[in-house]
């Protein structure tokens, strides 16, 4: 017997949530699906495949004012930060929850990033398992899966009759206080299957591919559009700049991408990473080698496939991983 919500009950529960929490959910926005705060339950897409952008901006906004400094008596005083109301991020797929967990590591490791931490602590994650895999999905190749409940407070698994409910944490349980959840004898639906991508062991062989001319060749087509980093659920490079306004200064943080020309350029003009190949290689190395090394963990990729879909010139992380493995084997054989 499993906890279960019929579709009607789910909608009832969501209506109830909306009264108490800000609910951020997948909605239809022009030709795409985006995560946005909703006013009515009817706006929520319960049966979407993939959103154009990941919900990482709930915790790491595209841009946010870190501080507002006000000029007072010859000094610059920081104003207290605005309150973050409690919120529910609803409907994210397991790959996006995995992305949030990957971002938690750098942001929350000491000294913790207060701005990220506040939003994170104010949010309960209610995920939706995937009924279909897109052709570009490969979550299973990076330790995830279409029904993986990891990193979620609640997971809903869609079935023809309704939603199997998996409450994982106390925070998730709190969303159901006073709400009647039925029990049903029901099997988990068979999860969709993703196409395997050879990511296993890539951290170990990445170094061997560093000097390959493959990177410059691949970079020939890169147009530095930043899309790969922006649509990714776990890329987190950022820039900080001041905005000078009358009597006050806003220190703003915004997304940035290591693919932008000039990302590493110093004032004065020297750039340790001037070539396109080096920049492109940095992206994949950060994902497959530097991040796992720095944080002693998994690769920084959730297999969501957004970068594959978004790249205007079809630089495909799956092909890159395969090529890196191929080069790695070749080097190992030669050794």
């Amino acid at each position: 017997m499993k906890p279960f919500l019929s579709r009607d009950n789910l909608l009832l529960w969501l209506k109830r949530l909306l009264q108490e929490y800000t609910v951020i959910a997948p909605v239809q926005a022009w030709d795409t699906v985006l995560f946005q705060p909703v006013k009515e339950v009817e706006e929520i897409l319960l049966n979407y495949d993939v959103s154009a952008l990941s919900p990482k901006d709930v915790f790491f906004p595209t841009s946010e004012t870190l501080f507002t400094f006000e000029r007072q008596g010859g000094r610059w005083e920081a104003r207290p930060l605005p309150e973050i109301k409690k919120q529910v991020l609803f409907g994210l797929h397991p790959c996006d929850a995995h992305g949030i967990a990957l971002m938690d590591v750098p942001f929350l490791s000491p000294p913790a990033d207060l701005h990220y931490q506040r939003r994170r602590e104010a949010t309960t994650l209610v995920g939706l398992a995937c009924s279909r895999a897109r052709p570009e999905c490969f979550c299973e190749s990076v330790g995830g899966g279409p029904q993986d409940p990891s990193h979620l407070d609640v997971l809903l698994i869609p079935t023809p009759q309704g939603y199997i409910l998996q409450v994982r944490t106390a925070r998730g349980a709190a969303l159901f206080t006073g709400f009647n959840v039925e029990e049903l004898e029901i099997d988990n639906p068979p999860p969709p299957v993703t196409t395997p991508v050879p990511v296993a062991g890539i951290t170990e062989i990445a170094r061997d591919t560093f000097n390959e001319v493959f990177w410059e060749r691949l970079a020939d087509r890169c147009i530095h559009c930043n899309l790969c980093a922006y649509v990714c659920p776990c890329c987190y490079c950022f820039d900080i700049r001041d905005y000078a306004l009358k009597g006050r200064v806003e220190r703003v943080r915004s997304w940035e991408s290591c693919q932008a020309a000039g990302f590493t350029r110093l004032a004065g003009g020297y750039d340790p990473r001037p070539s396109k190949g080096a920049r492109l290689r940095q992206r994949f190395f950060h994902k497959f080698l530097y991040y796992p090394t720095q944080f002693k963990g998994q690769v920084k990729c959730t297999g969501c496939g957004r970068c594959v879909r978004a790249c205007p010139v079809n630089i495909d992380i799956r092909e890159v991983a395969s090529e890196m493995q191929r080069i790695g084997s070749r080097v190992a054989r030669a050794a």
Binding site: W30, S63, R217, V252, S254, P312
Partner: protein
Amino acid sequence: MKATSEEVKTSVKKLFEDGSIGHFIGYEMGSDSLRVTPCFLKSGQAASRLVWNPLCANNLSKYLLDFGKVEGKVGIMVKGCDSRSVVELLKEHQIDRDKVFIVGVPCSGIVDREKLLAVLGVSPGEVVAVEDDGDAFLVTIKEGTRRVKKEQVLRGECLVCRYPTPVIYDMLIGEAVSSLPWVGDDYSSVKELEALSSEEKERYWSSELSRCIRCYACRQSCPGCYCQQCFVDQLDPHWVGIKIAPQENHQWNTVRAFHLMGRCIECGECQRVCPVKIPLMLLNRHLLREVESKFSFQPGLSPETPPPLATFKPDEDLGI
């Protein structure tokens, strides 16, 4: 006869062999059967990688800016729209005419991958090939072939394309196409928007531009945007900055559209790459219509015709 991949391969190989080119920029198949990727060749042997089919969406002309200092001519494959960017780059002295060998391919429409998948109800793994078949696309899938009417699955820009045949070329592969049958009043969607009230327009654009995440993919994919330092990256003066908020988003998108006024050749790459599908071409085409009506000028047709917004004649009637 429409150009085929085979003709393209043979022609390009010959161009390498007779020394006409030292490099070539074209298309090759990408990471699945419905993806095509830009391809950079240094020899005739590699020409066997080239393809030409209704998936070849990218405007390759911007890559010419990377080849300024190479030895030998650079060959490039251009569709009608792409050839107009080459004209603009020539006009604006960004490339040398005698360093480029333009291989023109008349185009009868490019497929929008997502629309095709939706209409067919299949996954890319099931598709083998997509070919041009007059007023439809012939899609070979594992079980057989399906014929899909072009208008259902064309890229937005192809629906209003006025220049299917390249306007400049050193070699043309395939028969010229004078016009595309489905193209009617090319500005109908723009006129619809223009007819709205100020308040309605403000609401429309506020809503559309609120999705902008300032990834600048539109700028990076646009052959008309090649400034060493874009105004939006300047710190001093601080025109826009990094803040992503309604006012800054408005500024970014409208100023970029103004910078392209009279220069945008409607390839539509900006809208194709936009991750949140902002209807950028509506804005660009509105401004194009302004230039056309006031100066009787269309960009991208002749490298010699000076751009009206960059030219001043003392006896010009400014209508003020």
